[in-house]
């Protein structure tokens, strides 16, 4: 298990290094000079040069990469070209919305998907199964921004249970903030829960037809006991994979939902930064997201090993 963890950690570190190089080079190749963008078309060459110096755009490729990575390691992500504020601060503020939102949505999705998937699989072909399959089909098909707007009309405008958008800030109180994240979280969770429920169902159906489930039944376990004690944990591997992918997506992919609900999250930040050629912000946010994805993958791989002893014993 220790060896397994160490090899995973090593591959995590390598992924991060490769990703940082790719992101850095991609941003280098992109057309668009931030200095020219900031000063406008009529700027003088020497003014531009002075600004480039100030922004640290003039060193060699290697120097700039080293200072970027070195900065990030010490928590200094540089200064935004457009807002002239530290990038770390900007990201920090946004992360405090995006991260809780992603976790909230993931929790909702898992809480809905597990029982639905397990229930459908245990009563394969029944009305329950047909209903779950039908509803999840719809859940996958409905665009989540449309569903979000529908919820705003019903729950914010007509019923007035929730506010239609915006985020008051965590200082205003935990429950108020959670309440304002509820509709966006539901909108994000709906398609994810649908996918996860379907994966849970099919993974469980696969394991339920395995020989060892029959062995368990021959020992005297009821169908329900055999499902809970033998099939469920074996079905978790594909489900964990999907949960890992979904979390990464939720963290970065909430951009449309953030726009629908006027939430100042990471998605909106990166959108604004791209339109403003604020490359240092783009670079940092993308790197942060890569970091999140790699960490989540690592967590998923550790979870695999906890579920499956065969992985634990291999190298």
């Amino acid at each position: 298990m220790l060896r397994y963890t160490l090899t995973r950690l090593l591959s995590l570190a390598i992924s991060l290094i490769v990703a940082s190089v790719v992101i850095f080079l991609a941003i280098e190749i992109l057309p668009g000079d931030p200095a020219a963008f900031m000063l406008g078309v009529n700027a003088q060459e020497d003014t531009l040069n002075a600004l480039r110096d100030q922004l640290g755009l003039n060193g060699s490729l290697w120097e700039r990469y080293a200072s970027w990575v070195g900065g990030m390691l010490s928590g200094d992500f540089g200064t935004s070209y457009t807002y002239r504020t530290p990038v770390a601060e900007m990201i920090g503020e946004r992360l405090w919305i995006s991260l809780p939102l992603a976790l909230y949505a993931l929790a909702l999705s898992t809480l809905i998907a597990f029982p639905a998937g397990i229930w459908a699989a245990s009563k394969r072909g029944s009305a329950v199964d047909v209903t779950v399959m039908g509803v999840t089909q719809l859940g996958v098909a409905i665009p989540n921004f449309w569903f979000a707007m529908l919820m705003v009309v019903v729950f914010a405008i007509n019923l007035r249970w929730f506010s239609a958008g915006g985020f008051p800030g965590w200082d205003e109180g935990f429950w108020i903030s959670i309440k304002s994240l509820t509709l966006p979280a539901i909108a994000l969770a709906l398609p994810q829960a649908s996918i996860l429920a379907r994966v849970m169902r099919s993974a469980l159906l696969d394991t339920l037809s395995e020989d060892f489930v029959r062995t368990a039944r021959a020992k005297g376990l009821s169908r329900r006991q055999a499902l809970r004690r033998h099939a469920l944990r074996n079905a978790l591997i594909p489900v964990l994979t999907i949960i890992g992918l979904q979390f990464s997506f939720l963290l970065a992919g909430g951009i449309i939902i953030e726009n629908v609900f006027y939430l100042p999250g990471l998605g909106r930040l990166i959108f604004q930064a791209i339109s403003a050629r604020d490359l240092i912000v783009v670079e940092s946010v993308v790197m942060l997201l890569v970091f999140a994805v790699v960490i989540v993958n690592f967590a998923v791989e550790i979870a695999y090993a906890l579920v499956d002893p065969r992985l634990r014993h291999r190298r």
Partner: protein, 531 residues
């Protein structure tokens, strides 16, 4: 009074009749062998007793087990019976255990589910059960996981689970079909011993007459969902009445007519072949370990000869096969086909490769299910520089299919439309397509029912006479090797330990391992076929 009594049991699954009026009984301490081919309903009879039938199944008749009327019990009552009064052992030990729970937990579960005892006591009793199936604590602690055990050891764990509560009836559904001969003999001994010790009744299901004949007190022969013959063993074998039983017995001892004369001219010659694998490093800077799968093997296969290669799983015979086919490079020695190396410059020699073909064991897994038969049998054409096209291709397909006893029209079908035996014929047709001189048969008849197996053996004998084919016949089944080969090699741990004329090797084995193998192979009683 009978322990298990099945009376006129009929079973329908979604209106398809599976069993018709099956009656049999098992007394305490008695072993009843149920024999039949796949589809005869023998396994479904067992699952009816357990009431673990597929959805849509409907039983009529009566099953009584220690006084319980099984067919009238509720599912909850059945759960109390399963594992407690009746235990079951399955065919496929590799998948019968939950891969993510250790063996102690899995055996203890049988006890915990039926008795209200603390977990520590259940584990102690699981330990006893594992000791009884000869898995001693020092080598097999409760914390072992299934993937750390061999097939035979896993089957012992399954047996431990089944007998942990000392049930009055044990059902074994083809418990040794997936195992090697020596392991098979050990498992059969173990089951017999447990039955005698505990006074259990046992329902032993098998397609192999010889396996059951050795141990059963009573034999029931089934065909197409009906019992066609029954009687005490071994007496029944001397006096079979029903035509099906007689043909079943004939098929399991069937020896094809072989009239090929081999010439003294080596077609394939294997010289001091060594094949090693590198293991993953155990420590970062330690030298990686090396496994020698094949260690200095030498033999010749003469033109027109049928040569057997016998050995248990893991002995290196599959590795050797891959080397002969030029699929893998060898680390030492040479393999020559008609004087030319099969492997030149890190890849297979095409000129040689097109002169030999292979037929594998699994008639279900060795075809792409999305291709039609014509495309499947034409696969070896990629070895030719100018594969036949158009009419010539159709003609080649028709000829190959006809020569294996199928019709040219079969080429338009998909593989799922064929039975296991027919699929193996198609696999042989595929091998014949490019008119090879040597066909390697890698356990090619091991997955087939005895009657189908007899037909395929006849077909192989006929083809070798017609086309002058040579065979390298790889099998763990000694009875098959004995009837189809002229000479045979016995392989153990990567080495050939004995070779010689087949009849001589079987009649007068020299190496202790060969003797062990022959002793372990189940035999039909001498009275068999006397009638």
């Amino acid at each position: 009074m009978s322990l298990l009594k099945i009376d006129n049991l009929s079973l329908d699954i979604r209106r398809a009749a599976i069993l018709r009026d099956v009656s049999l009984s098992v007394d305490p301490g008695q072993i009843v062998g149920v024999i039949g081919e796949s589809g005869s309903g023998k396994s479904m009879t067992a699952f009816s007793v357990m009431q673990l039938l597929p959805e849509g199944a409907r039983c009529t008749g009566a099953i009584s087990l220690s006084g319980h009327d099984i067919l009238s019990l509720s599912e909850a009552e059945m759960c109390k019976l399963r594992g407690n009064d009746v235990g079951m052992v399955f065919q496929e030990p590799m998948t019968a255990l939950n891969p993510i729970r250790n063996i102690g937990d899995q055996v203890a579960e049988t006890i915990l589910i039926h008795e209200d005892v603390p977990k520590s006591e259940a584990l102690a009793r699981a330990r006893d059960a594992l000791n009884r199936v000869e898995l001693p604590e020092d080598r097999f602690p409760l914390t072992r996981y299934p993937h750390e055990l061999s097939g035979g050891q896993r089957q012992r764990v399954v047996i431990a689970m089944a007998i942990a509560l000392r049930p009055s009836l044990l059902i074994a559904d083809e418990p040794t079909t997936a195992l090697d001969v020596t392991t098979q003999a050990q498992i059969l001994d173990l089951l017999t011993r447990l039955v005698r010790e505990d006074g259990m009744g046992m329902l032993m299901i098998s397609h192999d007459l010889a396996v059951v004949a050795d141990m059963a007190d009573e034999i029931v022969i089934m065909q197409k969902g009906e019992v066609v013959e029954r009687g005490p063993s071994p007496e029944i074998f001397g006096n079979l009445q029903h035509p099906y039983s007689i043909s079943l017995l004939a098929a399991s001892t069937h020896a094809p007519d072989r009239s090929v004369q081999s010439v003294d001219d080596p077609l394939l010659s294997v010289r001091d072949v060594v094949r090693t694998y590198t293991l993953p490093r155990k420590k970062l800077f330690a030298a990686p370990g090396v496994v020698e799968a094949v260690r200095g093997v030498s033999f010749d296969l003469k033109r027109g000869e049928s040569l057997g290669l016998v050995g248990e799983s893991g002995c290196g015979k599959s590795t050797l096969t891959r080397a002969i086919l030029g699929l893998e490079e060898v680390q030492g020695g040479e393999i020559l086909f008609d004087g030319d190396p099969v492997f030149t410059g890190h890849k297979a020699n095409r000129d040689v490769r097109r002169r030999m073909q292979v037929v594998f064991q699994d008639p279900y897994g060795s075809f792409n299910p999305r291709h039609r038969v014509d495309r499947l049998v034409c696969e070896p054409f990629h070895l030719l520089d100018e594969p036949p096209k158009g009419a010539a291709r159709d003609e080649a397909i028709a000829e190959a299919l006809t020569s294996v006893g199928l019709t040219p029209e079969d080429r338009f079908k998909y593989i799922h439309e064929f039975s296991g035996g027919q699929r193996q014929r198609i696999a042989i047709a595929r091998a014949l397509m490019i008119k090879p001189e040597l066909i390697i048969l890698d356990e090619a008849v091991s997955a087939l029912d005895v009657q189908v197996r007899a037909q395929i053996l006849d077909l192989l004998a006929d083809l070798s006479a017609r086309f002058g084919l040579s065979y390298l016949f790889i099998s763990h089944d000694l009875s098959v090797v004995r009837v189809i080969t002229d000479r045979c090699l016995v392989m153990k741990s990567g080495e050939i330990v004995e070779q010689g004329a087949t009849e001589q090797v079987f009649a007068n084995p020299q190496h202790p391992y060969t003797r062990e193998l022959i002793a372990a192979a189940p035999d039909l009683p001498d009275t068999a076929g006397a009638a």
